[in-house]
Symmetry: C2
Subunit: 165 residues, 2 copies
DNA sequence: GTCTATAAGATGATAGAC
DNA sequence: GTCTATCATCTTATAGAC
Protein backbone atom coordinates (compact mmCIF):
# COMPACT_ATOMS: atom_id res chain seq x y z
CA UNK A 1 0.00 0.00 0.00
CA UNK A 2 1.19 3.47 -0.85
CA UNK A 3 2.14 6.06 1.61
CA UNK A 4 -0.60 8.36 2.82
CA UNK A 5 1.47 11.25 1.56
CA UNK A 6 1.49 9.64 -1.89
CA UNK A 7 -2.23 8.99 -1.73
CA UNK A 8 -2.80 12.69 -1.05
CA UNK A 9 -0.58 13.64 -3.99
CA UNK A 10 -2.44 11.17 -6.24
CA UNK A 11 -5.85 12.60 -5.42
CA UNK A 12 -4.64 16.19 -5.56
CA UNK A 13 -3.09 15.64 -8.98
CA UNK A 14 -6.28 14.18 -10.37
CA UNK A 15 -8.43 16.96 -8.93
CA UNK A 16 -6.17 19.74 -10.19
CA UNK A 17 -6.03 18.18 -13.63
CA UNK A 18 -9.80 17.91 -13.63
CA UNK A 19 -10.77 21.31 -12.20
CA UNK A 20 -7.64 23.46 -12.09
CA UNK A 21 -5.78 24.93 -9.15
CA UNK A 22 -8.61 27.27 -8.19
CA UNK A 23 -11.07 24.43 -8.47
CA UNK A 24 -9.74 22.03 -5.88
CA UNK A 25 -9.72 22.21 -2.10
CA UNK A 26 -8.15 20.48 0.87
CA UNK A 27 -11.57 19.27 1.84
CA UNK A 28 -12.12 17.56 -1.51
CA UNK A 29 -8.73 15.93 -1.30
CA UNK A 30 -9.27 14.80 2.28
CA UNK A 31 -12.70 13.45 1.48
CA UNK A 32 -11.45 11.28 -1.37
CA UNK A 33 -8.45 10.04 0.58
CA UNK A 34 -10.72 9.20 3.49
CA UNK A 35 -9.27 11.53 6.10
CA UNK A 36 -10.00 15.02 7.42
CA UNK A 37 -8.61 18.21 5.96
CA UNK A 38 -6.63 18.90 9.13
CA UNK A 39 -4.70 15.72 8.43
CA UNK A 40 -3.82 16.94 4.96
CA UNK A 41 -2.34 20.04 6.55
CA UNK A 42 -0.09 17.78 8.59
CA UNK A 43 1.49 16.44 5.39
CA UNK A 44 1.38 19.68 3.39
CA UNK A 45 1.17 22.90 5.43
CA UNK A 46 -0.48 25.07 2.78
CA UNK A 47 -2.33 24.74 -0.52
CA UNK A 48 0.58 26.12 -2.59
CA UNK A 49 2.89 23.61 -0.89
CA UNK A 50 0.70 20.73 -1.97
CA UNK A 51 0.13 21.99 -5.50
CA UNK A 52 3.81 22.74 -6.06
CA UNK A 53 4.72 19.25 -4.87
CA UNK A 54 2.13 17.74 -7.21
CA UNK A 55 3.58 19.70 -10.13
CA UNK A 56 7.14 18.74 -9.23
CA UNK A 57 6.31 15.04 -9.02
CA UNK A 58 4.35 15.25 -12.28
CA UNK A 59 7.32 16.79 -14.05
CA UNK A 60 9.80 14.23 -12.74
CA UNK A 61 7.57 11.28 -13.59
CA UNK A 62 6.73 12.60 -17.02
CA UNK A 63 10.31 13.20 -18.06
CA UNK A 64 11.36 9.80 -16.73
CA UNK A 65 8.61 8.21 -18.80
CA UNK A 66 9.73 10.06 -21.91
CA UNK A 67 13.32 8.93 -21.44
CA UNK A 68 12.19 5.37 -20.83
CA UNK A 69 10.26 5.30 -24.10
CA UNK A 70 13.16 6.85 -25.96
CA UNK A 71 15.46 4.20 -24.49
CA UNK A 72 13.04 1.58 -25.81
CA UNK A 73 13.55 2.93 -29.28
CA UNK A 74 10.59 5.26 -29.65
CA UNK A 75 11.08 8.62 -31.29
CA UNK A 76 11.13 11.53 -28.88
CA UNK A 77 8.15 13.30 -30.42
CA UNK A 78 6.20 10.07 -30.54
CA UNK A 79 7.01 9.49 -26.87
CA UNK A 80 5.58 12.86 -25.88
CA UNK A 81 2.57 12.36 -28.09
CA UNK A 82 1.74 8.87 -26.84
CA UNK A 83 2.18 9.78 -23.17
CA UNK A 84 -0.25 12.68 -23.50
CA UNK A 85 -2.62 10.55 -25.52
CA UNK A 86 -2.68 7.82 -22.92
CA UNK A 87 -3.63 10.19 -20.09
CA UNK A 88 -6.34 11.70 -22.25
CA UNK A 89 -7.71 8.32 -23.25
CA UNK A 90 -7.44 6.48 -19.94
CA UNK A 91 -8.36 9.22 -17.49
CA UNK A 92 -9.77 12.05 -19.58
CA UNK A 93 -7.10 14.32 -18.16
CA UNK A 94 -4.84 16.74 -19.95
CA UNK A 95 -1.33 17.86 -19.01
CA UNK A 96 -1.23 19.19 -15.45
CA UNK A 97 1.10 22.03 -16.37
CA UNK A 98 -1.01 23.01 -19.35
CA UNK A 99 -3.91 23.57 -16.98
CA UNK A 100 -1.78 25.40 -14.45
CA UNK A 101 -0.28 27.57 -17.18
CA UNK A 102 -3.70 28.87 -18.21
CA UNK A 103 -4.39 30.08 -14.66
CA UNK A 104 -1.01 31.82 -14.72
CA UNK A 105 -1.81 35.13 -13.08
CA UNK A 106 -3.61 34.04 -9.97
CA UNK A 107 -1.26 31.19 -9.20
CA UNK A 108 1.06 31.21 -6.16
CA UNK A 109 4.64 31.86 -7.26
CA UNK A 110 6.02 28.42 -6.51
CA UNK A 111 3.22 26.71 -8.42
CA UNK A 112 3.58 28.98 -11.44
CA UNK A 113 7.33 28.35 -11.39
CA UNK A 114 6.84 24.59 -11.54
CA UNK A 115 4.44 24.89 -14.46
CA UNK A 116 6.86 27.15 -16.33
CA UNK A 117 9.74 24.78 -15.63
CA UNK A 118 7.82 21.86 -17.13
CA UNK A 119 7.03 23.78 -20.30
CA UNK A 120 10.56 25.13 -20.75
CA UNK A 121 12.17 21.73 -20.17
CA UNK A 122 9.62 20.19 -22.50
CA UNK A 123 10.61 22.53 -25.29
CA UNK A 124 14.27 21.71 -24.62
CA UNK A 125 13.52 17.99 -24.65
CA UNK A 126 11.76 18.17 -28.01
CA UNK A 127 14.43 20.42 -29.46
CA UNK A 128 16.97 17.66 -28.87
CA UNK A 129 15.76 15.79 -31.91
CA UNK A 130 13.66 18.47 -33.66
CA UNK A 131 15.95 21.45 -33.49
CA UNK A 132 14.03 24.74 -33.37
CA UNK A 133 10.66 23.04 -33.56
CA UNK A 134 10.18 22.05 -29.93
CA UNK A 135 8.05 25.09 -29.19
CA UNK A 136 5.76 24.48 -32.12
CA UNK A 137 5.38 20.79 -31.30
CA UNK A 138 4.61 21.31 -27.62
CA UNK A 139 2.14 24.05 -28.54
CA UNK A 140 0.36 21.69 -30.87
CA UNK A 141 0.24 18.91 -28.28
CA UNK A 142 -1.02 21.12 -25.45
CA UNK A 143 -3.62 22.77 -27.66
CA UNK A 144 -4.85 19.48 -29.06
CA UNK A 145 -5.28 18.10 -25.52
CA UNK A 146 -7.17 21.19 -24.50
CA UNK A 147 -9.62 20.91 -27.37
CA UNK A 148 -9.95 17.13 -27.21
CA UNK A 149 -10.80 17.26 -23.52
CA UNK A 150 -13.33 20.02 -24.02
CA UNK A 151 -15.13 18.08 -26.73
CA UNK A 152 -14.50 14.79 -24.92
CA UNK A 153 -13.09 13.29 -28.09
CA UNK A 154 -9.73 11.54 -28.07
CA UNK A 155 -10.07 11.08 -31.79
CA UNK A 156 -9.62 14.81 -32.21
CA UNK A 157 -6.22 14.59 -30.55
CA UNK A 158 -5.18 11.85 -32.97
CA UNK A 159 -6.19 13.81 -36.03
CA UNK A 160 -4.89 17.16 -34.84
CA UNK A 161 -1.45 15.67 -34.09
CA UNK A 162 -1.32 13.23 -36.99
CA UNK A 163 1.58 15.12 -38.56
CA UNK A 164 3.71 14.34 -35.50
CA UNK A 165 3.45 10.59 -35.88
CA UNK B 1 -19.94 55.92 -21.68
CA UNK B 2 -20.88 52.28 -22.11
CA UNK B 3 -23.82 50.60 -20.57
CA UNK B 4 -23.35 49.33 -17.07
CA UNK B 5 -24.23 45.89 -18.29
CA UNK B 6 -21.46 46.13 -20.86
CA UNK B 7 -19.04 47.41 -18.25
CA UNK B 8 -19.77 44.34 -16.13
CA UNK B 9 -19.19 42.07 -19.11
CA UNK B 10 -15.92 43.85 -19.91
CA UNK B 11 -14.53 43.41 -16.41
CA UNK B 12 -15.80 39.84 -16.11
CA UNK B 13 -14.19 38.90 -19.42
CA UNK B 14 -10.84 40.28 -18.38
CA UNK B 15 -10.96 38.60 -14.98
CA UNK B 16 -11.95 35.21 -16.39
CA UNK B 17 -9.24 35.44 -19.03
CA UNK B 18 -6.73 36.30 -16.33
CA UNK B 19 -7.71 33.82 -13.60
CA UNK B 20 -10.16 31.37 -15.09
CA UNK B 21 -13.81 30.74 -14.25
CA UNK B 22 -13.05 29.40 -10.78
CA UNK B 23 -10.77 32.32 -10.13
CA UNK B 24 -13.16 35.23 -10.48
CA UNK B 25 -16.00 36.39 -8.27
CA UNK B 26 -18.94 38.75 -8.30
CA UNK B 27 -17.21 40.82 -5.66
CA UNK B 28 -14.11 41.28 -7.80
CA UNK B 29 -16.22 42.27 -10.77
CA UNK B 30 -18.34 44.66 -8.71
CA UNK B 31 -15.30 46.22 -7.11
CA UNK B 32 -13.65 47.01 -10.45
CA UNK B 33 -16.85 48.32 -11.99
CA UNK B 34 -17.38 50.49 -8.93
CA UNK B 35 -20.63 49.00 -7.67
CA UNK B 36 -21.69 46.36 -5.15
CA UNK B 37 -22.05 42.67 -5.85
CA UNK B 38 -25.80 42.82 -5.22
CA UNK B 39 -26.03 45.17 -8.19
CA UNK B 40 -24.24 42.69 -10.40
CA UNK B 41 -26.85 40.12 -9.46
CA UNK B 42 -29.49 42.54 -10.74
CA UNK B 43 -27.95 42.39 -14.23
CA UNK B 44 -26.92 38.73 -14.15
CA UNK B 45 -28.79 36.51 -11.66
CA UNK B 46 -26.12 33.87 -11.23
CA UNK B 47 -22.42 33.34 -11.88
CA UNK B 48 -23.01 30.86 -14.71
CA UNK B 49 -25.38 33.39 -16.33
CA UNK B 50 -22.67 36.03 -16.36
CA UNK B 51 -19.90 33.72 -17.54
CA UNK B 52 -22.01 32.22 -20.32
CA UNK B 53 -22.93 35.70 -21.53
CA UNK B 54 -19.26 36.70 -21.50
CA UNK B 55 -18.36 33.65 -23.56
CA UNK B 56 -21.21 34.25 -26.01
CA UNK B 57 -20.22 37.87 -26.58
CA UNK B 58 -16.57 36.86 -26.94
CA UNK B 59 -17.44 34.33 -29.62
CA UNK B 60 -19.62 36.74 -31.59
CA UNK B 61 -17.05 39.52 -31.47
CA UNK B 62 -14.16 37.24 -32.36
CA UNK B 63 -15.83 35.73 -35.40
CA UNK B 64 -16.95 39.16 -36.58
CA UNK B 65 -13.35 40.36 -36.30
CA UNK B 66 -12.11 37.37 -38.27
CA UNK B 67 -14.60 37.97 -41.06
CA UNK B 68 -13.73 41.67 -41.13
CA UNK B 69 -10.04 40.89 -41.60
CA UNK B 70 -10.80 38.33 -44.26
CA UNK B 71 -12.96 40.91 -46.06
CA UNK B 72 -9.97 43.26 -45.95
CA UNK B 73 -7.96 40.71 -47.86
CA UNK B 74 -6.13 38.94 -45.03
CA UNK B 75 -5.77 35.18 -45.16
CA UNK B 76 -8.08 33.33 -42.80
CA UNK B 77 -5.31 31.65 -40.85
CA UNK B 78 -3.41 34.92 -40.62
CA UNK B 79 -6.56 36.61 -39.30
CA UNK B 80 -6.89 34.07 -36.47
CA UNK B 81 -3.22 34.27 -35.71
CA UNK B 82 -3.03 38.06 -35.60
CA UNK B 83 -6.18 38.43 -33.51
CA UNK B 84 -4.82 36.05 -30.89
CA UNK B 85 -1.43 37.70 -31.03
CA UNK B 86 -2.86 41.14 -30.46
CA UNK B 87 -4.73 40.12 -27.30
CA UNK B 88 -1.61 38.42 -26.01
CA UNK B 89 0.59 41.39 -26.77
CA UNK B 90 -1.73 44.22 -25.71
CA UNK B 91 -3.40 42.71 -22.68
CA UNK B 92 -1.39 39.61 -21.81
CA UNK B 93 -4.57 37.57 -22.19
CA UNK B 94 -5.12 34.31 -24.02
CA UNK B 95 -8.28 33.03 -25.68
CA UNK B 96 -11.22 33.04 -23.26
CA UNK B 97 -12.51 29.73 -24.49
CA UNK B 98 -9.10 28.12 -24.31
CA UNK B 99 -9.03 28.93 -20.61
CA UNK B 100 -12.61 27.76 -20.09
CA UNK B 101 -11.92 24.55 -21.99
CA UNK B 102 -9.12 23.57 -19.61
CA UNK B 103 -11.49 23.82 -16.64
CA UNK B 104 -13.95 21.64 -18.55
CA UNK B 105 -15.17 19.30 -15.87
CA UNK B 106 -16.12 21.67 -13.10
CA UNK B 107 -17.77 24.19 -15.40
CA UNK B 108 -21.53 24.84 -15.36
CA UNK B 109 -23.16 23.27 -18.40
CA UNK B 110 -24.07 26.47 -20.21
CA UNK B 111 -20.54 27.85 -19.84
CA UNK B 112 -18.91 24.63 -21.05
CA UNK B 113 -21.30 24.61 -24.00
CA UNK B 114 -20.27 28.09 -25.06
CA UNK B 115 -16.58 27.20 -24.86
CA UNK B 116 -17.14 24.07 -26.91
CA UNK B 117 -19.15 26.02 -29.49
CA UNK B 118 -16.32 28.49 -29.96
CA UNK B 119 -13.79 25.74 -30.52
CA UNK B 120 -15.97 23.76 -32.90
CA UNK B 121 -16.88 26.82 -34.96
CA UNK B 122 -13.24 27.85 -34.95
CA UNK B 123 -12.21 24.55 -36.47
CA UNK B 124 -14.96 24.93 -39.08
CA UNK B 125 -13.84 28.45 -39.86
CA UNK B 126 -10.24 27.41 -40.41
CA UNK B 127 -11.26 24.38 -42.42
CA UNK B 128 -12.92 26.72 -44.94
CA UNK B 129 -9.57 27.57 -46.45
CA UNK B 130 -7.34 24.84 -44.96
CA UNK B 131 -9.45 21.77 -45.51
CA UNK B 132 -8.84 19.11 -42.87
CA UNK B 133 -6.21 21.17 -41.07
CA UNK B 134 -8.43 23.44 -38.98
CA UNK B 135 -8.06 21.25 -35.91
CA UNK B 136 -4.31 21.15 -36.10
CA UNK B 137 -4.06 24.91 -36.65
CA UNK B 138 -6.37 25.86 -33.80
CA UNK B 139 -4.53 23.41 -31.54
CA UNK B 140 -1.25 25.06 -32.37
CA UNK B 141 -2.63 28.55 -31.78
CA UNK B 142 -4.27 27.71 -28.44
CA UNK B 143 -1.22 25.85 -27.22
CA UNK B 144 1.16 28.60 -28.27
CA UNK B 145 -0.95 31.18 -26.42
CA UNK B 146 -0.98 28.99 -23.33
CA UNK B 147 2.80 28.66 -23.26
CA UNK B 148 3.51 32.27 -24.27
CA UNK B 149 1.33 33.57 -21.47
CA UNK B 150 2.88 31.28 -18.91
CA UNK B 151 6.38 32.41 -19.82
CA UNK B 152 5.16 35.97 -20.42
CA UNK B 153 6.84 36.00 -23.81
CA UNK B 154 4.93 37.05 -26.91
CA UNK B 155 7.99 36.23 -28.94
CA UNK B 156 7.38 32.57 -28.19
CA UNK B 157 3.97 32.81 -29.84
CA UNK B 158 5.53 34.30 -32.96
CA UNK B 159 8.15 31.59 -33.27
CA UNK B 160 5.85 28.70 -32.38
CA UNK B 161 3.30 29.77 -35.01
CA UNK B 162 5.77 30.98 -37.62
CA UNK B 163 4.73 28.21 -40.01
CA UNK B 164 1.19 29.66 -40.12
CA UNK B 165 2.28 33.03 -41.48
C1' DG C 1 -0.87 10.96 12.48
C1' DT C 2 -5.46 11.79 12.91
C1' DC C 3 -9.11 13.77 15.07
C1' DT C 4 -12.57 17.67 16.89
C1' DA C 5 -13.29 22.32 17.37
C1' DT C 6 -12.80 26.68 15.98
C1' DA C 7 -11.46 31.01 13.94
C1' DA C 8 -11.44 34.33 10.14
C1' DG C 9 -12.38 35.26 5.65
C1' DA C 10 -14.51 34.73 0.99
C1' DT C 11 -18.42 33.60 -1.73
C1' DG C 12 -23.21 33.22 -4.02
C1' DA C 13 -27.38 34.72 -3.35
C1' DT C 14 -31.65 37.09 -1.48
C1' DA C 15 -34.79 40.52 1.03
C1' DG C 16 -36.05 44.92 1.50
C1' DA C 17 -35.09 50.09 1.85
C1' DC C 18 -34.38 53.96 -1.16
C1' DG D 1 -30.80 50.28 -10.37
C1' DT D 2 -28.23 50.47 -6.47
C1' DC D 3 -27.71 50.05 -1.87
C1' DT D 4 -27.34 47.85 3.10
C1' DA D 5 -27.93 44.11 5.53
C1' DT D 6 -27.99 39.20 6.16
C1' DC D 7 -27.53 34.12 5.43
C1' DA D 8 -25.68 29.75 4.52
C1' DT D 9 -21.84 27.69 2.89
C1' DC D 10 -17.11 26.83 1.72
C1' DT D 11 -12.23 27.54 2.50
C1' DT D 12 -7.66 27.81 4.59
C1' DA D 13 -5.49 27.27 8.58
C1' DT D 14 -4.45 26.50 13.62
C1' DA D 15 -4.82 24.69 18.52
C1' DG D 16 -5.13 21.01 21.27
C1' DA D 17 -6.97 16.26 22.62
C1' DC D 18 -5.98 11.46 21.72
Amino acid sequence: MTNRRDAILDVAERLIRAHGYSGFSFRDVASEVGIKSASVHYHFPTTPDLAAEVAKRYRQRFFEAVEAEVQSGAGRVEAWRSLFRRALDQDGLMCLCGILATEGDGLPTEVANEARAFLRLGIDSLNQTQNGEGGRILSQLEGAMLIARSTNDVGFFDIATENLA
